[in-house]
């Protein structure tokens, strides 16, 4: 089985739960931070993602700050992203509206390459305060060629899905590329 390596950029507005998702994923659910610690610089986490019978991917996860004050300075750390994870908070309409801007921001570092993405509606354990309709988010994801996941960073069995999707999509690009090369020969 092949081992791929990917740079996964995680973006979205402040306090939507990016760091929570990343840390829960990184630690297999061991640490949920109840208190909010604002991310000020990009935090790099490493994690192996297995897609059964398909591939292993080493993910270098760039957990980026949502606060505008820090965001600009951090973009340079991303390098050339392989995949992107755009997060919003389902209880905050404004964080969903920002997603297009976050995608554009990441795209400007992609040198025109196809970079697969997932849209993540986080905090779905707070659905009684929901402001963003699932159907609306799903439509947005489709128009951007993204997959849509709703998660709660608190629940095991939820925060893994977006990363698995990304690993799968990255692996298909790999296979497509091999296919293209073989056609050239």
């Amino acid at each position: 089985m092949v081992k791929l390596r990917a740079r996964c950029v995680v973006v979205g507005d402040a306090a939507v739960g990016k760091s929570s998702l990343c840390h829960m994923f990184r630690s297999d659910g061991a640490v949920f931070q109840k208190n909010y610690n604002m991310t000020a610089g990009v935090e790099l986490l490493e994690k192996s993602v297995s897609v059964p019978e398909t591939s292993d991917s080493e993910f270098f996860i760039y957990d980026s700050p949502g606060r505008e004050l820090f965001a600009d300075a951090c973009e340079n750390v991303w390098g050339q992203p392989s995949v992107m994870c755009v997060v919003f908070d389902i209880t905050c309409e404004a964080s969903f509206t920002s997603c297009s801007r976050w995608v554009e921001r990441v795209r400007s570092h992609c040198n025109g390459l196809q970079v697969p993405g997932v849209l993540v509606g986080n905090k779905c354990d707070l659905s009684f305060r929901r402001e963003v309709d699932s159907a609306e988010a799903r439509t947005w994801a489709q128009t951007h060629g993204f997959q849509y996941h709703e998660t709660s960073a608190k629940e095991i069995g939820q925060f893994e899905a977006p990363f698995l999707s990304l690993a799968q999509m990255f692996h298909s690009i790999y296979q497509d590329q091999i296919h293209t090369i073989k056609n050239v020969l």
Partner: protein
Amino acid sequence: MLDSALNSYEALVVLATSSDENYPAENIIDGKTETFWISTGLFPQELIIRFTDNMKILTISIHSYNIKRLRIEMSTSEDADKFETIAETEFEQTESSLQTNDISVKVPNATHLRFVILSGYDHFVSVHKVGVQS
């Protein structure tokens, strides 16, 4: 002039930063363009070829796909502890054919060549054949 398979001159790929068992790095020195090594994500990527005899090299020819920037370095010592840059170049993108490039160098006696792929036109790049001429 040595344009046939490098491995018949007892060259060996001693390091590759990516490995897919279906596309092993030895494929770059078997003299065939049909077999290849492919990177498995991120840049830079590195390949090191070791020669059993010191090699005098004037041209390095490379068949590849989607490589953008490439740096070539050589070492003259047995254990390859020091490398110096002998060429740095940018390949043009091709679509329906492989990239074929001949790079002129002045190498009096190398034990190793190191290829550092700095960037690509895609997430993944392939190297099909490396040849040297003296």
